[in-house]
Symmetry: C2
Subunit: 648 residues, 2 copies
């Protein structure tokens, strides 16, 4: 079949002409190019465009593109010079802690303890900076905790800025390879995470585009590659990979079952395109991916990918804030919305085929307010197909109300402390850990609990990332931090565990303590170490506060396993008796429970035509699908991996 194709160059030429007509000459446009999902206008006098707030808006409307204006690289002051000037312009009371430059977008990031003073009255100082240094200034509050992850990501983007710009242009040209298209058909294939939890991966295809939503790994099934990783053997996926047709990967949130296999694609040169996600998800997933291969390494298993593959993930990630609408292919437009599950977690809304169909993929979500986050977004401009998680989808999967859960948690903790025991709370380093921290902090601050809370695994680093993105936290928490000036993450009850010696000290100490350690399912990570050493003493308690997947040690202990064979130090198998108290308190999950799931379908606007239940054990997906069908008369499906569903 012959298609009449307009080349990107032709499209760009037309746009340049329009821009030249609309933008005053004195702005001195030097270049117009697609970079990622944006049309970037390079000018020698960015100030001219800043003066007229309407101009860019009007251009965007006329060109139907997201537009960025950037200073021409030639006019930028050298970074050292610029830094000097900025420090002169900003009053010392602003307490600038760091200035860093991102040449790939001509941006200077100014971190200050009092960002308001960097901006100045009515943005005057900022405007001055722009005029003098030409770099576009972005001001953020200095995070109270230093995150190594954020620092190294920034380093990568800075040092690779040339490659990065080349990459963005290539992505832009791919997105706009054709004028806006109406698709002939749309379909989705489950590569993983359908009728199961773990290895989430959904392939969305039209006759023009191919997009993945999530690309996870099931860490509880690593012994069986056929179950641990998404279906590389799905013929349509093989085709897309072999022909290099994958337009984009969207990551809904950072947990490994949604993001854990991304670096693998770079290791084997299977993908060279953009990854779309929120800034916190980028940072957290990089943290978790690193943690994952380090645990593999320390277990003597050859890691699935290398640190440099994770670096490629960073280089290929394009971040979007909630609500930003972006073209990601000629016929697919993406918006990320808050999912309320963990920091930066999002519901991916896909507008496909120029109005043909709208899909929301919830990823993991929560639909009640938690200590950390607002409930998931439930309003979309349009919606025909809702693809939702079903972790707690069965009819009896009701969780305790939060206050009840907190009460029970504290009862177990206080009882254990009283008898001189230790409390182990296995929790994913990202998500439940911080939620539990907030509970403990309040009980310490208000209730007067005096016992150290040790944070082991990547929890401390993950917490630092939380403090860097206060705008992603709940309104309540933001108020506390900004208006009341109190940041609960910084409470002195929290003690990061720096190394295995400190871990040993904590285990051997006779003092009561609370230990929050990853992994949450006792699969690798320090929680297993603590568990092995604390299990035999009946004074201690272990409290499970999150979902325990089939096949994990956590699940088996939860189910009542009382003797655990482990490889002893000599290599021989030893048996650990579980004498400690074992508790499961189910009110802390970051997943919507049955009530929330049903409630979400009732509330979501507009009402979808079709609901597809995924991310749950078979019976949960089936139960949820059938209940939704009965209750709302909406067409539902609970498909298998490798099923492909035509949406239109």
């Amino acid at each position: 079949m012959i298609k009449r194709e307009t080349s990107v160059d032709e499209i760009l030429k037309e746009m340049r002409e329009i821009i030249n007509q609309m933008v005053p000459k004195e702005a001195k446009i030097t270049e117009v190019e697609f970079e990622g999902p944006e049309l970037v206008i390079y000018v020698k006098n960015p100030e001219v465009l800043m003066r007229d707030g309407e101009l860019i808006k009007n251009l965007a409307k006329v060109l139907k593109k997201r537009i960025s204006v950037r200073p021409d690289p030639d006019v930028l002051l050298p970074p050292e010079k610029a830094e000097e000037l900025i420090k002169e312009l900003v009053p010392a009371e602003a307490e600038i802690t760091n200035i860093s430059f991102d040449p790939s977008v001509g941006e200077v990031l100014i971190e200050a303890k009092k960002p308001g003073l960097v901006i100045g009255k009515n943005g005057e100082t900022l405007r001055l900076i722009t005029q003098k240094v030409y770099w576009a200034p972005r001001v953020i509050r200095t995070p109270p905790l230093q995150s190594q992850t954020i620092y190294s990501i920034r380093q990568i983007l800075q040092s690779e800025s040339k490659d990065r710009r080349k990459f963005l242009r290539q992505v832009g040209r791919n997105i706009y390879r054709k004028p806006e298209l109406k698709s002939d058909w749309i379909r989705i294939t489950g590569l993983g995470g359908w009728r199961e939890v773990g290895r989430s991966a959904l392939l969305l295809q039209t006759n023009e585009s191919n997009v993945l939503v999530d690309f996870g790994i099931n860490v509880a099934a690593l012994h069986d590659p056929k179950k641990a990783v998404p279906h590389f053997d799905a013929p349509e996926f093989q085709y897309v990979l072999k022909e290099g047709l994958l337009d984009a990967i969207i990551i809904t949130h950072a947990h490994l079952d949604h993001s854990g296999l991304l670096p693998y694609l770079f290791r084997f040169n299977l993908f060279d395109g953009p990854i779309y996600t929120t800034p916190p998800t980028r940072d957290l997933m990089v943290l978790l991916q690193k943690d994952f291969i380090e645990i593999q390494q320390s277990n003597g298993v050859p890691p699935l990918y290398r640190p440099k593959d994770i670096k490629e993930v960073v280089k290929h990630t394009i971040t979007l804030e909630y609500g930003e609408v972006r073209d990601i292919s000629p016929d697919i437009r993406l918006t990320l919305h808050n999912a309320g599950h963990i920091l930066g977690s999002s519901i991916a809304h896909l507008h496909v085929g120029n109005g043909l169909h709208n899909i929301a993929v919830t990823g993991d979500f929560k639909f009640i307010p938690t200590r950390l986050f607002e409930p998931a977004n439930s309003r979309f401009p349009r919606l025909e197909t809702l693809i939702m998680e079903s972790t707690y989808g069965a009819s009896k999967d009701y969780q305790l109300p939060r206050d009840e859960a907190e009460k029970r948690l504290m009862e177990v903790i206080l009882r254990t402390i009283k008898r001189g025991g230790k409390v182990l709370i296995p929790a994913m380093s990202v998500g439940r850990s911080q939620e539990i921290m907030m509970v403990l902090e309040e009980y310490a601050r208000i209730g007067g609990m005096e016992v150290p809370v040790y944070l082991d695994g990547m929890i401390w680093e993950a917490t630092a990332i939380h403090t860097a993105y206060p705008e992603y936290l709940s309104r309540h928490l933001r108020e506390q931090i900004f208006h009341e000036g109190y940041n609960p993450f910084l409470s002195e009850i929290f003690h990061p565990v720096a190394n295995s010696n400190e871990r040993k000290d904590i285990i051997e100490s006779r003092e009561p303590a609370i230990i929050i350690a990853s992994s949450g399912m006792l699969v690798g990570g320090p929680s297993v170490e603590y568990f092995k050493n604390l299990a035999s003493d009946e004074k201690n308690s272990v409290i499970f506060v999150s979902y325990q997947a089939e096949g994990t040690l956590g699940r088996r202990v939860q189910r009542g396993l009382r003797e655990i064979p482990v490889a002893g130090e000599s290599g021989k198998t030893e048996v650990i008796k579980v004498n400690m108290e074992v508790h499961t308190i189910d009110g802390f999950s970051g997943h919507a429970d049955r009530r929330e799931l049903i409630n979400y379908v009732a509330r979501v606007k507009p009402r979808p035509e079709r609901v597809i239940t995924v991310h749950g054990e078979t019976q949960k997906c089936l139960d949820l699908a059938s209940s939704i069908h009965k209750k709302f008369s909406i067409s539902t499906r609970a498909p298998n991996n490798l099923d492909a569903i035509r949406l239109k």
Copy 2:
């Protein structure tokens, strides 16, 4: 992932050793090779193996392969010499009409009017022939009508015998590339003919194999390539074609909506593997494909493929009789069963993954006895998924009982004849035409009707093919032909129309007549010609006896269209008034009606776990699926094209 692979050569080596142990030395084995789905043993003394009837059976059991024994090409007498000898050995009363040689399988085909005399008492003559000429003799009764199609197919196979043998070896090596496999998963994708009639094409995939069932074209939608041909844009199909991974194509029957796009695959070198079907289907589909491109040509449309592409279809076809079980890939085994729809039509039974799953694809089928065929087979060794047609799947799609339909047909015919009119019966050249012929023949023979029946289009040639395969006809018809010595196809009421002059004569004659002409839906072919010329005269009648697809002229006339714009001879649009009587008599369909469809599910043994309804308009597929689910509590689906369903 690393797979431990045994090469074909290793497998063959092992088999040769076993064969050498079991077969007596004096047979003089010269070669053992896979050819198509068979293991072929070449020997210098085939007679040795023929003597011991059990030996081949035992070998087959031990090797788990279908085994053929062939004379070593070196010992074969030259054809002229062999022909001479055969004529000496067979008594003249046998009336040999043709002797032809197929060097690719070392076979000599002897056609005789009295085949029993070629075989001889207890097969004595045949044995003598084998001993003297070494070619393996196959004896058939000389068909009473000469089929040009059969003749030319035989010619092709003979002249291309070298290529053909190479091809068969290549196919054999592909099928047995690995030892019998257990599949990880099995799925089917609808490339066409799901929730529609036309362009039937189903892709069956496992992690090892890729097989197509049918590859049709929708001749009623040729103006829109997106609807006329199967979904070449399905990513998994693109992958299979691009990587040359298609193991086989199975054709359930000859109609163009099931076989019509096959030659296209050869035209563009998209496929080089085997086509499995019954011998009559091969012959009939070649006839219909030729007819199709000739009609395109005569309509001034560039044909979709060339005669030489149809020749490739012949060269790539491996025929199977009903009930023959054959491996067609390392994990798929095929058996064709009678479908009762048209000559050679079959239900494809697929045994997948070494016992993992069994699928029956009905193709088009009929579940009551007709004048021509036995009802479809409904017993399978195993069956989990039944994929069935739904042409008459809606709850009101009951057809007239046959006798009632015949009565109504004759009423209209006799009434029309009486008033001096002509009766036009548009019918597919293969199927309904012969069924109606049988009705008319009986009414002429017994009821004394005296009016010529003209057969136009490829009907006469198709009828000739019917007479060549009496074993595919109903028991009743076979009895009539063999035991009563009367062949109703040869009745003198039938007159083939040889060319457009004869057609003109028939139209212009004032005598009453019955005209059976293709196509059955008034889409191309002589029926349109007759219709245009007979429509305005109220003395005439048109009788629709088969399914009229949406969008066809037949459907519009059936629905009451009374003015038809046509391109007149001058090129200007003219309007034809439809004054003739328009009748639809629905009892002659080759498709199971609603009652038969439901009955089939009730009767099929074993009871399937899942029924998938296809090949019907959307509502018919949905209605049938939902009724079967309610009635039998079997899981059902009525999927869309491009849906992929995981079966296991």
